[in-house]
Every structure is written in structure tokens, then in C-alpha cells.
């Protein structure tokens, strides 16, 4: 082996154009390989993701289309002024979301990434490192923005009979707009780290409180602090007035909305070119500001990226102390009568979850939002023109809770086995049966999900003033959902573990996670459907509908049969999924 390498030309520093070309090549190569691999090895996941995106887009499109037609024909509220207000509120909200999401994405992408640590040891300029990560942030936050934002605009174009250039201008307008909050987010991210690196914890807390405050204020303004009844024209008018701040002409969202509305406008006596010329003017305004902000951010990165990185890396790090031990002691007391091995495993999993804010915070946010919706459910009952709807809504609530639970079990319970697998030797050497480990996880997931879910269902039912029998049926179905979903996640997690991945999100987004999500959805729909169908029929007959076809005795028998089928399927699912999990887990080598 010779240490000499032939060097045809000496190394040199690249100029900005050459660097840009090189990093574009890097992005392209990674994207190409990722797509190729995805199509070759994860077709199910890729198809499911594409299908779900399409479903979301089409659903949003038709909701918007119907909504616009309704406003135009029935409510007579489809005025230019109303549309402007709605668009401005919608895109101002998306602008705020894009700002925060891009700031967070860039913080993680630049300051917490191993890749940037590597690039910083190479002669790559700080401007290029920033641009490289900035383009990723624009892509990651921009595709969601286009997915959510475009159905409304396409629907609007159809309703007002917009010209072809309206549709052509939509995408450039949206892309140019997406760069502005991302650029602002980048500047704030860089400056915050540079000047306040040692204060990152207070900054995170203040930012979280600001976001929470904004959301709470919006919800309060729209739903609670109102003079008029919910979902009436007066309530709509009142809400629009309260949120009129979004129409500030300095907001890029106003430029976007104006560009869109100008492109769609076709008034009599107005020359055609005036519409697209105005729209292009707003596009130029958006694009020039987007480029300006990107340039400012890039220049800033050139000056402070290395220094801010250094400040963050060398800031004081507080050692994490172990607080809230009383929670473990409380848990130990509650579980004192359970077998020792199960108790120890449950307490271990409980500790891991409570010390990982990512897990319980997501659970808290999801269930908090559902709780908020349930608290406002009284108005549905008051406004419902048909009493049978109340019963239907209560089951739909159950479905919502179930579907949220399924995302939780897929994201956090399913990967638990894979993550355990990497440290499996610890458990594998313990003098306990391997089944006990899975049983512990199943109990942990079932109890952990049943407690908040059953309380939420109880809240929903009591606000809807449902009879005791229905509440009991709901609680039983909730128990079946929690146990079944936990068994699916634990059983599949043990059967198809991903022992190579170290990130739970990667494990959850793989084939096993996707299968878990699909099976969970099928299970939820079946259990809720089989229990809700006869129950709803019974409620309808009780209200005097369809009584010529069904007698109350028949519907009650059907209700009982439906519940028995749900219980049988639930028990079988738990048994079957745990059985295949046990078998796979017994054979696992370490």
C-alpha cells in the first residue's frame, strides 16, 4: 500500500456558483436514490402516502367547492369582500405556521445535525451550508402548504369561472409566498441562536407559550367569545370582523391573496390583460421580497453561522435531574398487587414515557384539541335540527378518539419492541419469561390509553346528555379499542421489528408502522361500526323513525348482537395479535 495518490490538479476553493452546482447535485442524487429505494422496497408505504395525500387534497377540494357554491347560491354571502376576508385569514394563519415550522426545521437542520457538523469541517462556505439547509426547509414546509392551500384556490377558480392564467399563476404565487415566512423564520433562527444561545430553554418556553396563546386566542375569538349563535350568518360576520387584522397590507399573505383574486377577477368593462398584469405585479412583489429575505438570511449566515454554532455548542448545559419521583412511587403503590416482573416492566416503561416530553406532549396536544372540541359540542346538540344526529355525533367522536389512538400506538407503542430489540440482551438475560415482557407492554399501552380516552368519551357523552346505556356501550367500545390497538401494536411490533433503526419515527414510518396504521384503522372502523350501527338504529326507532320496519325489541336485540360481535372480535384480536407477537418474540435472537 502506497501513501502517495496521483493528483492531477491541486485542490482549490470553489466559487459560489460551483458550490451551488455541487450541492444541487448532492440533493438530486439523494432524492433520486431515496425515490428509487422507496419504489423498490416500500411500494405499500409510497402508494399509501401518495393515496392519502390525494384523498386529503380531493376531500379539501370538494369541501371548498361545495362551500363556495353554498355561499354563492344559498347564503348569498359570496361577495368579493367576504372572500377576501376568508382568504386573508386563512393565508395569514398559514404564514404564521410556516414561519414557526421553518424556524424549527432550520434550527434542527443546522444546529443539531451531524451533516452540518461534517460540512463545517470542509471548506464549504457558511452561505452555501445555509442555502443547502434553507432549500430543504422550504421544500419540507412548502409541500404541506401547497397541499393544504391549493384545493381552496382551485375550487375558487372553478366557482368564479376564472381564466386559464389564474391556474397557471397559482403555483408560482404560492411558491414565492412560501419563501417569505421561511426566510423570516431563518433570520429569526440565526439571530436567536447567535444572540441568545445560552437562553435556549427560556426561548423555547416563551415561543411555545406564544404559539399556545395565539391558538387559544383564535379558538376563543371564533367559538367562545361570541355574541351570536355558532354557525349563523351573524356569527360568521362577527368572526370576520374580529379577525380583520389578517388583512393588513404589509402582510405577504395579503399580497398573495390580492394576486390570486386579481388573477381570478373578470368584471365587465375590465380589460383581460389588467387581471393577469395585476396578478403578475403581486407575484413580482412576492418574488422580490422572497429573494431579498433569502439574500439577507444568506448574508447573515455568512457572518454569524460559525460563531453562532460555536456559541450554541459551548453554552452551559444543565444536567437533567430526575424529578417527579413521587409519580413512580405512586405507580408502584397502584401496581403493588400485580406480579413483580410485570410491575417492574410497567414502571420502567412509565419512566421512559414521562421523561420523554415528545411522547406525552403529542398525546396531550392531540387529546387537548379533541377535549376542546368536545367542550364546544353542546352547541351541536342545541343546533341539531334532528335529535338522531346527537347519537351519530357521539359515535363519530368515538371514531375520532380511536383514530387518534391508532396514530399514538403506531408512533410510540409499535416502535417500543424494535427499540427494546437493540438493548434486548438486557431483558433477554433477565430471569423472566419473554412473554412477560410483551404482556407488560400490552398492559402499559392498554391502561395508558384507556384512562384518558374513557374520560374524553365520558366528557363528550355527558355534554351530549346521552342515556346511561349508550354511555356504557361507548365505554365498552373504548375499552375494546384501547386493548385491540395495543395488542395490534405490540404483536406487530414483535413480529416485524426494525432492529437497525434508532429513531422511533423512522421505525413507525416503515413497512411495519404503515401496516400497523392500516390494520388499526380497519379494526377501529369495524368495532365502532358494528357497535354503532344497531345502536343508532335503536335510537332512531326510539325517536319514532323507521318504526314501520323495526320494533324496539328487534333493534335492542340487534344492538346486543352488535355489541357481542364487537366484544368477540376485540377479544380475538387481542388473543391473535399477542399470540403471533409471543411466537416471534420467543424466537428472537440477541
Amino acid at each position: 500500500m502506497s501513501p502517495e495518490s496521483p493528483i492531477a490538479e491541486p485542490p482549490r476553493l470553489l466559487n459560489l456558483v460551483e458550490e451551488a452546482r455541487l450541492y444541487r447535485w448532492l440533493h438530486r442524487s439523494i432524492l433520486k436514490t431515496t425515490l428509487r429505494e422507496l419504489l423498490a422496497t416500500s411500494r405499500l408505504r409510497a402508494s399509501l402516502a401518495a393515496f392519502m395525500s390525494m384523498v386529503i387534497w380531493v376531500a379539501l377540494f370538494f369541501i371548498m367547492l361545495e362551500g363556495f357554491f353554498f355561499l354563492q347560491k344559498e347564503a348569498g354571502a359570496f361577495t368579493q369582500e367576504t372572500v377576501e376576508k376568508v382568504f386573508n385569514i386563512f393565508y395569514a394563519s398559514l404564514m404564521i405556521m410556516l414561519f414557526f415550522s421553518s424556524a424549527i426545521l432550520l434550527y434542527g437542520g443546522i444546529y443539531q445535525s451531524q451533516e452540518v457538523r461534517f460540512l463545517m469541517t470542509t471548506p464549504t462556505s457558511p452561505e452555501r451550508i445555509f442555502q443547502y439547509k434553507f432549500s430543504e426547509a422550504v421544500f419540507l414546509s412548502g409541500w404541506g402548504f401547497i397541499l393544504i392551500g391549493s384545493p381552496m384556490l382551485v375550487a375558487y377558480g372553478i366557482v368564479v369561472g376564472a381564466n386559464w392564467y389564474y391556474y397557471v399563476l397559482l403555483l408560482p404565487l404560492m411558491i414565492a409566498f412560501a419563501f417569505i415566512p421561511t426566510g423570516l423564520g431563518a433570520i429569526v433562527c440565526l439571530a436567536t441562536v447567535h444572540f441568545f444561545a445560552p437562553l435556549r430553554r427560556p426561548i423555547v418556553v416563551v415561543s411555545a407559550l406564544t404559539v399556545f396563546g395565539l391558538v387559544a386566542w383564535s379558538v376563543w375569538t371564533v367559538f367562545f367569545s361570541r355574541q351570536n349563535e355558532l354557525l349563523t350568518p351573524e356569527w360568521f360576520e362577527e368572526t370576520m370582523i374580529r379577525l380583520s387584522t389578517a388583512e393588513n397590507r404589509l402582510f405577504p399573505s395579503w399580497w398573495l391573496c390580492s394576486g390570486i383574486l386579481e388573477a381570478a377577477r373578470s368584471e365587465s368593462g375590465r380589460l383581460e390583460y389588467q387581471s393577469w398584469a395585476q396578478a403578475i405585479l403581486f407575484f413580482a412583489l412576492l418574488a422580490s421580497n422572497a429573494l431579498f429575505l433569502q439574500m439577507i438570511a444568506s448574508l447573515l449566515a455568512g457572518r454569524i453561522l460559525f460563531v453562532s454554532y460555536n456559541r450554541l455548542q459551548t453554552a452551559v448545559r444543565h444536567r437533567r435531574t430526575i424529578g417527579f419521583r413521587w409519580l413512580d412511587q405512586w405507580m408502584t403503590k397502584i401496581l403493588s398487587s400485580s406480579p413483580t416482573a410485570i410491575r417492574l416492566l410497567l414502571i420502567k416503561d412509565f419512566r421512559l414515557v414521562r421523561r420523554d416530553p415528545l411522547q406525552w406532549a403529542q398525546f396531550l396536544i392531540f387529546f387537548g384539541l379533541v377535549g376542546l372540541y368536545f367542550l364546544n359540542i353542546k352547541s351541536i346538540q342545541d343546533a341539531a335540527p334532528f335529535a338522531g344526529w346527537v347519537n351519530l355525533v357521539s359515535f363519530l367522536n368515538l371514531l375520532v378518539v380511536g383514530l387518534i389512538l391508532s396514530t399514538f400506538t403506531t408512533r410510540f407503542i409499535f416502535p417500543m419492541i424494535s427499540l427494546e430489540g437493540q438493548k434486548f440482551w438486557i431483558l433477554g438475560l433477565l430471569p423472566i419469561e419473554r412473554e412477560t415482557i410483551l404482556r407488560g407492554k400490552f398492559l402499559f399501552a392498554s391502561i395508558g390509553t384507556f384512562l384518558p380516552s374513557s374520560l374524553l368519551i365520558l366528557l363528550s357523552d355527558s355534554l351530549l346528555q346521552l342515556p346511561g346505556t349508550i354511555v356504557a356501550v361507548h365505554e365498552l367500545v373504548c375499552l375494546l379499542l384501547c386493548a385491540g390497538l395495543a395488542a395490534i401494536a405490540v404483536g406487530l411490533g414483535a413480529s416485524i421489528p426494525n432492529l437497525r433503526a434508532i429513531s422511533p419515527s423512522k421505525i413507525a414510518s416503515g413497512f411495519g408502522g404503515t401496516l400497523n396504521l392500516v390494520l388499526s384503522a380497519v379494526y377501529i372502523i369495524f368495532i365502532v361500526g358494528v357497535a354503532a350501527g344497531p345502536c343508532h338504529l335503536d335510537a332512531l326507532v326510539g325517536l319514532g323513525h323507521l318504526s314501520e320496519f323495526f320494533s324496539p325489541e328487534k333493534t335492542q336485540t340487534a344492538m346486543l348482537i352488535g355489541i357481542l360481535i364487537a366484544v368477540a372480535v376485540g377479544i380475538w384480536t387481542v388473543y391473535f395479535m399477542l399470540r403471533i407477537g409471543f411466537r416471534a418474540f420467543r424466537q428472537m435472537e440477541f
Partner: protein
């Protein structure tokens, strides 16, 4: 060459490197020893531009790393203890990326390193499928592509099998012989003993010993102790 002049670096109140003066000339393999948390990695990170000193300055081939980072970095290569590779690139694509980054177009440099490190069998596979040893070979190959004047290597032997350890030792020695400044940190005294031209022992951010192996052995002889005993004694005092 690498020069540290009165360099200090702290993390909050904790001083990690304390008034370090060190110069490593061209063609020398400098072995940097010390217990965990002694300041080895912080010292190295300042040479490669990942951290900046609170006081003093670090120069690489005459360029101040904080003031002329690109010029300094173009002269060096850094092999960290946990190197980064792009999972979705093949080994060949990664080498091409690094080669292009230094403005060296064409594939001959990469081909030469592939042969030198015996990577022909796996170079066209995605790096996510590589073992630790294969990854380390690729990282070293990429580090040598632009023929750096300074090579900074943090714990290069961790997790390698005996064959790869031999390979890395030979490469580092050969690089130093060819005129490259090699700055290597290690926990293993025997590795420093075997391949180091000069040894530095850092404890609590301060250099406790700086000299050749012969100097260290002489010190041991005077104190009637072995190298290991001497090392443990030096590092124990501070702890």
C-alpha cells in the same frame, strides 16, 4: 503545521482547555492522550473550525482558523470519532462529492483511493449498508483525496477489528512520513507508543506532558515506574 497560541475554551463556567500552547510541525505524528473529558476533542475541534477559542488563536498552515476558516480547512482533513456519511450515496458518489468539493474534477483521485483502501468490492453500494470498518476506510479515503497538509484524527481505532487497526496505523505512519502533520487523539497508550513521534498528555484542559516517547520513558525510569503507571498517576492527580 498546527499552532495553538495561548488557547482557552470554556463551556459556561467549566474551562475545557486552559492556555494551551502547542505546535505540531509538518511530518510529525502527534499522539494526544488524556482521560475522558480532559479536553482532547475540544482542542481538535478548534483546529478544524467546529469551535472557536475564547482566548488565543489556532493556525493551520499559517491560516487563523477563526479568521480564514475556508483557507485553513482547505489544507486539512478531519476524521471524527463518529464520522458522517450520506446513507443514500454510494461510496463512489461520496468520494466524487468530496473530490468536487476541493475543485478536483475527474475520477482518477477517487479510483486511486478506492484501490489503496481495498474498497473495490463494496464501493458501488449505498453507504448505509457498510460495516463500521468499511465506513472507516471510506472516511479515511475521503480524507486523503485532496492530499491534506494536516490530518486531524479523533479516536481512529475505536470499534475496528485488528486488521483495520493495522491498516489505519500503517496509513497514519505513511502519511506522516510523506510530510503530513498528523494530530491523533487516543485513549490507548500502546498506540501512541507504537506510532507517535511525539506525545502530549492533557488533563483538565492543561498539557501535563509534552515530549517524545524517549522523554516519557526517561521520566518513567527516573521515577522507577512503567509507562502505564506514569500515565495513570498523571491523570489520577487531577481527577
Amino acid at each position: 503545521m498546527i499552532e495553538y497560541h495561548g488557547v482557552s475554551r470554556s463551556y459556561g463556567d467549566r474551562l475545557a482547555v486552559d492556555h494551551l500552547d502547542l505546535s505540531i510541525p509538518a511530518g510529525e505524528l502527534f499522539a494526544f492522550l488524556g482521560p475522558n473529558g480532559a479536553g482532547k476533542t475540544t482542542t481538535m475541534k478548534m483546529a478544524v473550525g467546529l469551535l472557536q477559542p475564547n482566548q488565543g488563536h489556532v493556525r493551520v498552515c499559517g491560516h487563523d482558523v477563526a479568521k480564514e476558516p475556508r483557507e485553513a480547512k482547505s489544507k486539512l482533513s478531519y476524521v471524527p470519532d463518529e464520522p458522517h456519511l450520506y446513507d443514500k450515496l454510494t461510496g463512489r458518489e461520496f468520494l466524487q462529492f468530496i473530490s468536487d468539493m476541493y475543485g478536483m474534477h475527474g475520477t482518477e483521485h477517487a479510483d486511486c483511493e478506492i484501490e489503496r483502501f481495498g474498497m473495490g468490492k463494496f464501493i458501488d453500494e449505498l453507504t448505509e449498508t457498510y460495516s463500521h470498518g468499511m465506513k472507516q476506510r471510506l472516511v479515511f479515503a475521503s480524507a486523503f483525496l485532496h492530499k491534506p497538509e494536516v490530518l486531524v484524527v479523533d479516536e481512529p481505532m475505536v470499534g475496528l477489528d485488528p486488521q483495520n487497526i493495522r491498516l489505519v496505523k500503517d496509513i497514519l505512519r505513511a502519511q506522516a512520513a510523506a510530510g503530513t502533520t498528523v494530530f491523533m487523539s487516543t485513549h490507548a497508550l500502546e498506540i501512541a507508543e507504537e506510532i507517535g513521534d511525539r506525545i502530549g498528555i492533557i488533563v483538565g484542559g492543561r498539557i501535563r506532558f509534552l515530549g517524545t516517547l524517549a522523554d516519557l520513558k526517561e521520566k518513567c525510569r527516573q521515577q522507577n515506574s512503567t509507562l502505564e503507571e506514569m500515565f495513570l498517576e498523571m491523570t489520577h492527580e487531577e481527577n
